[in-house]
Symmetry: C2
Subunit: 367 residues, 2 copies
């Protein structure tokens, strides 16, 4: 199989800097992965969907190392402290030490959980991300956010722990269920909405190619997404400021995911719905025109993403948003859109604008 | 009650620097603790032994803040991922956010576990150490090592997360069981053995005062211990080098704790036994004279610490040491004594010296 690698991107974080490798067939380049895995002892963390497809190939790419693997159940509802314990068990059973390296082979759940295990095992070992979903390739595998969910909220338990490398093989998207591809597109659209109106316009004109797995279009989308994320993470690794922009749609989205039970809505689907809510609230505050919100709705619709929130009621949605991490001193800080291509993070808005937005979308029949 | 505070010590770690406050009656100085607790939302983590003695007093010192508490079972065998989950539950139930502060009120187990919870909750919130055992006051509360045990080994899961302040009230030692006081003395002796022959000599001549809770002697011992720890932690926060010296006796000790079931041996007792093993091995390597080992044995004996290892067998001890964190690339690095007052970290020794040491102490009847 031919290997096509795009020029290397880097996340610039001083001594914690690392490359993002994007291309097709990267997993077939035997030396590539091994060259980015420090040390001799490697634990591959994957899940029961991705493992049968790619585990053997990754193991082949690590010849000469002492490789173990652990296969977790698939899905967001398994991103728990209890499943995390299984990764620790595997590391201890293998008698791996401080110089071990954990490889996350899978989507966002595997990456977040394996990364958090690497952050905590022996107070921190190396890890490498091998994302196999669009969402993980454009977003969650980059930037060092790791963690697990708590019944009370998403990602409430975690750590900032940067990988040594991210190796994103676009070819793995050929085995991705179409629904997961669409969910990943939500995060691509996010980058356009928050930082880059030109990229948003490009996405609008290439949605069909992206959904049809046109590798050239996917490579452009992925590279631009990672460039934006790399720039923002380098400027604000621990989300004291600008990085919060990348949470557009996430505070609303977490409420949807939590209310529906993790896994009912895919993360990207909930983010898509959350972005529509953020756009609608931005309109109510006079930032966006009605036509802007229509553009947001239209690109999400064409990407096959959901446009109707579950009828959980505005009060419940607000309560669930209150437990979100992005809350500051009791006020709900939200990412809104000053205009298309320019996000803002603010807790400075009339409460009524938030309430009306929630009522318009979460009250079911009335929406 | 009168308040006597020693001059403030600081751990110098740039923006993560923090004070160590040592004195008697500090918990009765209502404003002191509150002044070191940032934010409004506070979770006090304590255990069922310490809580009844000091929780109300600490709560009084936090008037005006939103204070919650969680009381955990007492003992090393409860320093687990599962008990850690109870602290997360309490934080979520209180709806605390990123600006919350966790206070650890208790000994080393409470401090390690509460500190790790603070490291992970919302990817990191503030925490303050209020150590109430000698061991925690001179050692574990200072330096930012946090974590929980795994059935396969001690502290295998954790994080480096520095507190905002350490507030050590010597008065709390009046309620400490004598056995725990003795266990804490082991860590005091450790500082002398590893870095400071003069301090070791001072300890040798003040063991009785320390055991009799002479507050002046305890204050001197605690301040010197914290000075040494502060200097070493400031030079090597993440234990890439010199900090490993502070693990004297710990690799042997962890094997004893693990083999006996956590809690059977107190941590300080296991460290004391481990230091004697390290001294004996240092003698076998020609570093220490027989009289030096006798001095080590004598000061430990006078401090009421155990001098006979459990008869688990040398092979089992070696296996349990192999899972210790201080292993580097498959070799067991040990802290040994080049002379009294000078530790070294090394994996460069004849295997037979380690084997003979283990056989001499872990084979029961033959020891």
């Amino acid at each position: 199989m031919s290997v096509t690698a795009l020029p290397e991107l880097r996340i610039d974080l001083g001594e914690r800097s690392y490359p993002i490798l994007i291309g097709t067939g990267l997993l077939d380049d035997a030396g590539l992965l091994a060259g980015h895995v420090p040390g001799r002892d490697v634990l591959i963390v994957t899940n029961e969907t991705v493992g049968p497809l790619y585990l053997a190939r990754v193991e082949q790419g690590l010849a000469g190392k002492r490789v173990r693997s652990v296969t977790l159940p698939d899905g967001e509802r398994h991103k728990t402290l209890s499943v995390l314990g299984r990764v620790f068990d595997a590391l201890v059973e293998a008698r791996f030490n401080r110089d071990a390296c954990v490889i996350a082979l899978g989507g966002g759940v595997v990456g977040d959980l394996a990364g958090f295990a690497a952050a905590c095992y022996q107070r921190g070992v190396d890890f490498v991300q091998v994302p196999t979903t669009l969402l993980a390739q454009v977003d969650s595998s980059v930037g060092g956010k790791t963690g697990v969910n708590h019944p009370g909220g998403k990602n409430l338990i975690g750590a900032f722990h940067q990988p040594r490398a991210v190796l994103a093989d676009l070819g793995t998207l050929r085995t991705l269920p179409p629904r997961e591809l669409r969910a990943g597109l939500a995060e691509v659209i996010k980058y356009g909405l928050v930082t880059d109106a030109g990229f948003l316009a490009w996405i609008e004109s290439h949605v069909q190619q992206l959904l049809a797995l046109d590798m050239e279009a996917l490579a452009i989308a992925m590279r631009r997404s990672c460039e934006i994320k790399a720039r923002i993470v380098a400027s604000d690794e621990r989300e004291q400021g600008a990085r919060a922009l990348l949470n557009l749609g996430h505070t609303f989205g977490h409420a949807i995911e939590n209310a529906s039970g993790y896994g009912e809505w895919l993360h990207g689907e909930a983010v898509a719905m959350g972005m529509l809510l953020a756009a609608d609230m931005s309109r109510r505050l006079g930032y966006l025109a009605t036509e802007d919100v229509d553009r947001v709705r239209d690109v999400l619709r064409r990407a096959g993403l959901p446009l109707a929130a579950p009828p959980i009621g505005a009060a419940k949605a607000l309560e669930l948003m209150g437990m979100d991490k992005k809350v500051l001193a009791g006020r709900i800080r939200l990412v809104l859109l000053r205009q298309l291509g320019e996000g803002i993070v603010t807790g400075d808005y009339p409460a009524v604008a938030l309430e009306e937005t929630l009522q318009a979308h979460f009250e079911g029949a009335r929406s």
